[in-house]
Amino acid sequence: MFTNKRIIILGIIVLLGFILGRLAVRAVINLMLGGTMFGGNLL
């Protein structure tokens, strides 16, 4: 089941999920308090 290709895909999904999770929080807080989506802190 876990071929090299699938392990890479899972790795990308982990990274993507983590980044999108942080960005989602930033977006919600920006909506409530003001702020930009990018710039300043890395994520």
Partner: protein, 322 residues
């Protein structure tokens, strides 16, 4: 048969991918929510070896007229600096306990610290406004100083601080009432506190385009009867002076450290530019931090936020040391 097995494996892998995405997304959300830009630098594990907290000490007759006092364990010094921190909450919510962490931190550094509650505007207190709140905290100061002295801590200098609404009240006390303070006010540090009420600055509320709305909101906030035709007149300035820290800035204004978010939608960044200009023009020692990507929470500029906190420490060392 083999094809069916292959299809099942693919289905399981897709399911695994979705599960992994959901978990990673959740971890990302939690890591962002719990993120502390200072890595816990301004938090202490409070215990009796650090100090003692006296809570809900009354300073007036109203329910909210209470303060908490944090005194360091070491009571052997001849004199102590007092740091008073006013809580945030848009003048309508919040509590002195919200600032427990920062009050504990500065107490652990040898300061006597205090969090003061004031009567919040709301259905129960329609008469409450920034002016009445500023007068309440002003009345509280002698009680705070006397209580500290009663406990054996000779407070002889103070800093006033706060965030948002608390920052506004800190500036009003530091700039307007410093001359009447029971002990000399040495400095102010605050974040995102409004210091003036120019409708053209309050764009996020649409007040720059709707002077009627501006008059209504500022009437409630200041406790004055303001009409839309007053803006830009000396009469208006006189009405809002008591709640506008900006108007009290002069060459004797105490040193100030302040931080604002450029994209703040609760109070206008433009107002902070006016304040910075006034402090600069009057040669007041101050530091002005602008968080280029942040709003009211100063949430997107960790580097600048850390610099702000370090500047506060620098000013405390400079102006509050014995």
């Amino acid at each position: 048969m083999r094809e069916e097995k292959k299809g099942n494996k693919r289905g399981m892998f897709i399911f695994l991918c979705i599960l992994v995405f959901i978990i990673s997304f959740g971890v990302g959300v939690v890591s962002k929510i719990t993120h502390d830009p200072t890595n816990g630098k301004y938090k202490v594990e409070w215990n009796e070896s650090i100090g003692t907290i006296y809570t809900d000490i009354a300073y007036g007759e109203k329910t909210s007229n209470k303060f908490d006092l944090y005194v360091p364990a070491d009571n052997s010094k001849e004199s102590y600096g007092l740091i008073v921190y006013f809580h945030a909450g848009g003048f309508t919510s919040g509590d002195k306990s919200d600032d427990k962490a920062i009050l504990e931190y500065y107490c652990s550094k040898g300061y006597v610290t205090a969090g003061i509650n004031y009567t919040l505007f709301g259905e129960q207190n329609l008469d409450s406004n920034i002016y009445t709140q500023s007068m309440e905290v002003k009345e509280a100061m002698p009680y705070v100083v006397n209580k500290a002295k009663e406990l054996g801590y000779n407070v002889d200098r103070m800093a006033v601080a706060g965030g948002s609404a608390g920052g506004c009240l800190a500036m009003i006390y530091g700039y307007r009432d410093a001359n009447e303070s029971p002990v000399p006010v040495k400095m102010v540090f605050q974040a995102v506190g409004p210091s003036s009420f120019y409708p053209e600055d309050w764009k996020s509320y649409g007040l720059d385009k709707d002077y009627e709305a501006a008059a209504n909101l500022f009437s409630v906030m200041t406790g004055q009867k303001i009409t839309s035709d007053m803006f830009g007149t000396p009469e208006y300035d006189a009405l809002v002076k008591d709640v506008s820290a900006l108007y009290w800035v002069n060459e004797n204004t105490v040193p100030t450290v302040m931080a604002y978010g450029k994209h703040d939608i609760f109070q206008p960044y433009e107002g902070s530019m006016r304040l910075d200009k006034a402090l600069t023009n009057n040669n007041v020692d101050h530091k002005y931090f602008v968080m280029e990507h942040s709003g009211h929470g100063l949430q997107n500029d960790d580097k600048e936020y850390i610099e702000y906190m370090e500047a506060v420490q620098e000013y405390l060392d400079k102006y509050m040391s014995n």
